[in-house]
Assembly symmetry: C2
Homo-oligomer: 463 residues x 2
């Protein structure tokens, strides 16, 4: 169909003004009177809708007057400038063809709906202003991330989703199986007979592509993953989902400083990209979702991220222990309340916290000379807390094996990973950015269920 | 670390010639003699490696001479032009620092290895020429696809991986569960008690995001997914994997012609992108993997895709039934041998086959006026067969329900999908492009295991 998009009209109005055009879209509102009426049409290509004026010279004038919100229409007419009005132009319709009506029980009437209610109609909520903005910005952020890495020569690696190994020994995982759950095959000694499963062994959904992608960093030097990861954690919070997307860059011949530079550059690039490419959406968030959003993001663009070691951060936090539910002391894991205090109250901008105690970090992180801390880094941002977690990796074979022994990890489960330390090892580093946290950070949305098209959480797997 | 990449050297040699630079990379080969030696270093940023010349004035000259292939080194020296040589420049080393040695049993010695063998070391194979080329091109194709859609205003939608519905009722699916397989909870009447599972009901890994993404097309008009999909099919062929990536665009206010235009434009865009951005890799494939590759791809760029209806295609194929294992007649599904015959022998270029019998296509495809065929389209390409499958969707509520009844599909399982036909329905269309098939098509690689970093197939889930 030869239709113009509303986006094109806003981009180059001069190409269309005073000409006959045809658009297709959905009625957002309709106001009729005796001899004429107004339809506000959204075609989904642009945040701003388009106003259509129709008159009783149209043969289906009476029919149009009765159209319900949500109806799909194809409108032909002349685009005319409206210098007196709020919107820059409107269509003077010469034809309004109904493509598909909207039943009277259409759930999205003009009034405002709560996010809770809209979660129950996840197939319709993208038609509302808020979710038009959220999911267009989500798409732009995803693309900006690809751009950032591709422009810098990073190779995009699709790490596997189904995995035979419990990578980091991290958290609860989802099992994947083709066995009949009503009748699980058993071996002679009564155990599950995984030889009869699809892969011939137990398999899970991945919690991280990092160990896999490190193998590619040792071949391509700079690489990144961008894919779904899974956690079967029974935590019903506004920040946790069972299925979410992660970005995991990994660089060979790079240390923790390179890692932080890459992370800071990435966050700034993405912020700049959405401010430039979705100004209407970002203004909407600033006005209706999170009043200080634009100031906060612009402040990030203009400032250098702060740096503090875990040890110094703990000293700072200990002075305010009276304000925390969980009291801080050296060795403890930082909670969201502590992270937010650091970034919001102390530094008032994003901050990198480095060199955590080895006990609270993963086995593969590079041991520092003090033998107590590892070259880990978390990036904390206002409103969210941790948005990025990363480290320089342990690249010394013997040190890595010793640490694995300490933790009781079996060497044979990590043969491939140890090979990287046997054949051309080098200092390397990487991090993980939770994509949904990034979307929340940039939109001001506070519930992860509202930045995922079809969120998966405990007891919730609709559509 | 402040290192120059080999890619930068090739891109703007004039910025580096006769200057001291430092690079990091892995030894591909080393030739030593009494007073000097040559190291070929790859840093993974570029397909071509870099030659390093070192002399016995280096204090670690003897050590360097003994370095094994695969060693990680940091080389400092002057970049000098070598107009007489095969390569345009080389480094005259003033320092070669060993970052990590390579053990004597390094599996990638200079000789050529079979793809079968390399599959057993999927963590090391990206260090070989072939897989450097394959996985860099894979990354570029992924990015080109995003570019194509984003430049055209399509919104990228992350459809869910874990799903509570068996979408199209298609094929075997992987089940996802957190229940203890050793001790599956049962209800009083002896059935699996899914109320105790993570989501409180049976869940699977998705086979397609299409039905989900249609809901977003009805809000954003033009959308696409690009994510992993899964098939638990027990088929051990060079073309099937249990986990693969799919691209699924969907357009509102669009018909089958719009769909084919989008598909043709996409394939041409991606071909042009890799030819421009990976010329060395593409020449490598043309020389060592698939002799006719470049001619074939350039031919595609220059020609318009052919169009034929299923009915006409069957007539053509029936004349050659003596050449097929499966004989063709109207109503049968086309096999790969038929598809390849059409595109390779009959049309000698990509061809769209349209209007298939409704019996061999999915329930949601738009019924044609003949009531026998549906507005489906497959795009067939030489060397592969089907690479794209799509359709205009049935947008009429009553027709869709009637078809679902015919097939015994339960309406209540598709409430959200039927809602799209109740509230502002419109003609719309979309397709699915198998990402790995696309990579195979553009590289000439013939086994899907060789275009996926860590392939998952029956009984194979390594790393």
């Amino acid at each position: 169909m030869n239709l113009v998009t509303v986006k094109e009209l806003y981009k180059t109005p001069e190409a269309y003004l005073d000409k006959e055009i045809t658009i297709g879209g959905w009625i957002r509102s309709l106001r009729d009177s005796k001899a004429f009426g107004f339809i506000v049409v959204s075609d989904g290509s642009y945040f701003e809708p388009l106003q259509v004026v129709y008159h009783d010279n149209l043969t289906n004038f009476a029919e149009i007057n009765k159209l319900n919100v949500g109806t799909a229409v194809i409108v032909t007419g002349t685009l005319v400038a409206t210098p007196q009005a709020k919107q820059p132009f409107e269509i003077q319709a010469t034809g309004v063809v109904v493509e598909g009506t909207s039943a009277p029980d259409y759930p999205l009437q003009k009034k405002r709906h709560s996010f809770e209610y809209l979660r129950t109609i996840s197939h319709l909520r993208p038609r509302t202003n808020t979710f038009q903005a959220v999911f267009r910005v989500r798409s732009l952020i995803a693309y900006a991330i690809h751009q950032y890495f591709q422009d810098r020569g990073f190779v995009y690696v699709h790490t596997p989703l189904i995995t035979g190994s419990d990578c980091e020994g991290a958290g609860e995982m989802f099992q994947v199986t083709t066995m009949d759950l009503n009748d699980i095959p058993k071996t002679e000694d009564g155990k599950v007979d995984f030889s009869q499963d699809f892969f011939g062994k137990p398999t899970n959904l991945t919690v991280s592509g990092q160990l896999n992608v490190e193998t590619y960093a040792m071949a391509f030097r700079n690489v990144y993953t961008f894919g779904p990861t899974f956690r079967a954690e029974n935590s019903n919070t506004p920040r946790h989902a069972a299925e979410f997307w992660m970005i995991e860059p990994e660089m060979a011949f790079a240390d923790l400083d390179d890692n932080m530079r890459l992370a800071e550059g990435l966050l700034k690039y993405v912020i700049r990209y959405v401010l430039e490419n979705a100004p209407a959406e970002m203004n909407f968030f600033n006005q209706f979702v999170d009043k200080g959003l634009l100031d906060r993001l612009k402040n990030v663009l203009e400032s250098e991220f702060a740096h503090v070691t875990y040890t110094d951060a703990v000293k700072i936090l200990e002075e305010h222990n009276d304000q925390f539910d969980y009291k801080v002391s050296w060795g403890c894991d930082l909670q969201t309340e502590h992270e937010r205090y650091l970034t919001e109250q102390v530094f008032k901008k994003p901050v990198f916290v480095t060199d955590y105690p080895k006990e609270i970090k993963a086995f593969y992180m590079k041991m520092n000379p003090d033998n107590k801390t590892v070259a880990a880094v978390d990036c904390l941002v206002p409103g969210i807390g941790e948005i990025i977690g990363g480290s320089q990796r342990e690249d010394d074979y013997d040190t890595l094996v010793a640490r694995m022994d300490e933790l009781g990890l079996k060497k044979e489960d990590y043969d491939f990973y140890l090979d990287l330390r046997k054949y051309g090892s080098n200092r390397h580093a990487g991090f993980g950015l939770g994509f949904e946290r990034c979307v929340m950070y940039l939109t001001g949305m506070t519930n992860i269920r509202d930045v995922i098209p079809f969120p998966r959480t405990v007891n919730n797997c609709e559509l």
